[in-house]
C-alpha cells in the first residue's frame, strides 16, 4: 500500500491506517532525530514529532507529499532544540552558492562514492555525528532518508542550490574525517 493511500485513509479517520503509517515511518523519523540529537532527547522529540504529525494530518492537502511534510515537522522540533547551534553556524559561515566553489567538484565526486559505499555502515553514522548541524541535517536527509534535493530544500526552507552547496561542503568535511581515519577513496 502506498503512503498516499495510507495517508488518505488516515485522514478519513481510519485508526488502522494511522497505526500503519506510524509503524512505517517510526524508524526513519527516529533515525533523523537521533542523528541530529543525543540519545536522551531522541525518544522524547520523536514522540513530540508524532504528536504534531497527528494534529496536523487532517489538514495535509497533498497526501502524496507526506514524507517531506513529515520531515519538515521533525526538523522544526529538532531546530527548536538546536537553535543556538544553528544561529552560531549561520553567523560563522553563511552559505556559499555552488557556482562560487568550482574547485570542490572533483573532490566531491570522489568522496561521494566513498559516502555512498559507506551509507549502510555504522562508521558513517559516527562520522556524520561530528559534522556541523546544517551540513549534518542535509546529509542525513539526502543519504540516510533518501530524499531528493528538492524535498530537502522544502524541508529546510532553503533554495535547491543551497542544499547542493551544503551537501558539497558536507562531503568535503566527511572526506577530511575519512582521511583522518585512514580511509582513501
Amino acid at each position: 500500500m502506498t503512503d498516499e493511500l495510507l495517508v488518505a485513509r488516515a485522514q478519513l479517520g481510519e485508526r488502522a491506517a494511522l497505526a500503519e503509517l506510524v509503524e512505517r515511518w517510526r524508524t526513519p523519523v527516529w533515525t533523523y532525530v537521533r542523528r541530529m540529537l543525543d540519545a536522551e532527547r531522541a525518544d522524547d522529540v520523536t514522540q513530540e514529532v508524532w504528536l504534531a504529525v497527528i494534529r496536523g494530518l487532517p489538514g495535509l492537502r497533498e497526501p502524496g507529499r507526506f514524507a517531506p511534510w513529515l520531515f519538515t515537522i521533525a526538523r522544526r522540533s529538532v531546530t527548536d532544540r538546536l537553535r543556538g547551534q544553528y544561529a552560531a553556524e549561520e553567523a560563522r559561515s553563511p552559505d556559499v552558492s555552488p557556482s562560487a566553489d568550482p574547485a570542490g567538484s572533483t573532490a566531491d565526486s570522489a568522496v561521494e562514492s566513498a559516502v555512498e559505499s559507506l551509507v549502510d555502515r555504522a562508521e558513517l553514522v559516527a562520522l556524520v555525528a561530528g559534522l556541523p548541524v546544517r551540513e549534518r541535517e542535509i546529509l542525513v536527509l539526502f543519504y540516510l532518508e533518501d530524499l531528493s534535493v528538492e524535498d530537502c530544500a522544502q524541508i529546510c526552507g532553503i533554495p535547491a542550490g543551497t542544499v547542493k552547496s551544503r551537501l558539497s561542503r558536507a562531503r568535503r568535511l566527511l572526506r577530511a574525517h575519512l582521511e583522518e581515519k585512514g580511509y582513501r577513496p
Binding site: 502506498t2 493511500l5 488518505a8 478519513l12 494511522l18 506510524v22 517510526r26 520523536t46 497527528i54 553514522v125
Partner: protein, 161 residues
C-alpha cells in the same frame, strides 16, 4: 559501534499518542465550541431584545455571561485548531452537531423573543447567521470527505491492479 534502534515500539508510540486521538478529547473540544457559540448567541439575543431599560447591574451580568460563553467558544476553537485532530469523518459529525445546535438555539431564542414581544428580528438574524455558518462548514466537511473517499478508491484500484 552497533546500530541503534528506537526505544519505543510502534505499539508503545501509538499508546502514548492515544490521549490526542481519544474520542472524548474530540467530543470535549466540539462541545466547548458549540456550547460557547450557542450560549453567546442566546444571551446576546436576550440582551438585545430586552423591552425596557435595565439596571446597570443587569447589563453587567449580561456582559459577563457573554464573556464567559465567548471564553468557552475560544477555548473550543483553539482546541480544534491546535490540539485536537479532527479527521474528515469527525468533521462531518461535528458539522451536523453544529447545525443541530444552531437550529435549536435559534428556535429557543425566537420563542423567548416572541414570549417577551420584542427582539424577534435580532434573534432570527443572529440564529440564521449561525446556522448558515454551521451549514457551510458541514457542506465543506462532506465535500472534503467525498474527495478523500474518491482518492482512496482510485489509489486502491491502482494498488490492486
Amino acid at each position: 559501534m552497533t546500530e541503534e534502534e528506537p526505544r519505543l515500539s510502534a505499539r508503545e508510540l501509538i499508546d502514548r499518542l492515544e490521549p490526542a486521538l481519544a474520542a472524548r478529547t474530540r467530543v470535549r473540544a466540539v462541545a466547548a465550541l458549540v456550547a460557547g457559540v450557542s450560549g453567546t448567541l442566546f444571551v446576546t439575543a436576550l440582551w438585545a431584545g430586552e423591552p425596557g431599560p435595565l439596571p446597570v447591574r443587569t447589563h453587567l451580568a449580561f456582559g459577563l455571561f457573554i464573556v464567559f460563553c465567548l471564553a468557552w467558544a475560544c477555548y473550543g476553537g483553539w482546541l480544534l485548531a491546535r490540539r485536537v485532530p479532527l479527521f474528515a469523518t469527525d468533521r462531518v459529525v461535528a458539522g451536523w452537531i453544529g447545525v443541530t445546535a444552531s437550529v435549536v438555539t435559534t428556535v429557543a431564542t425566537a420563542v423567548a423573543a416572541v414570549q417577551r414581544g420584542a427582539g424577534l428580528g435580532t434573534a432570527l438574524a443572529l440564529g440564521g447567521l449561525l446556522t448558515a455558518v454551521a451549514l457551510a462548514l458541514t457542506v465543506r466537511a462532506h465535500a472534503r470527505r467525498a474527495a478523500l473517499l474518491r482518492r482512496v478508491r482510485e489509489l486502491s484500484g491502482r494498488d490492486g491492479a
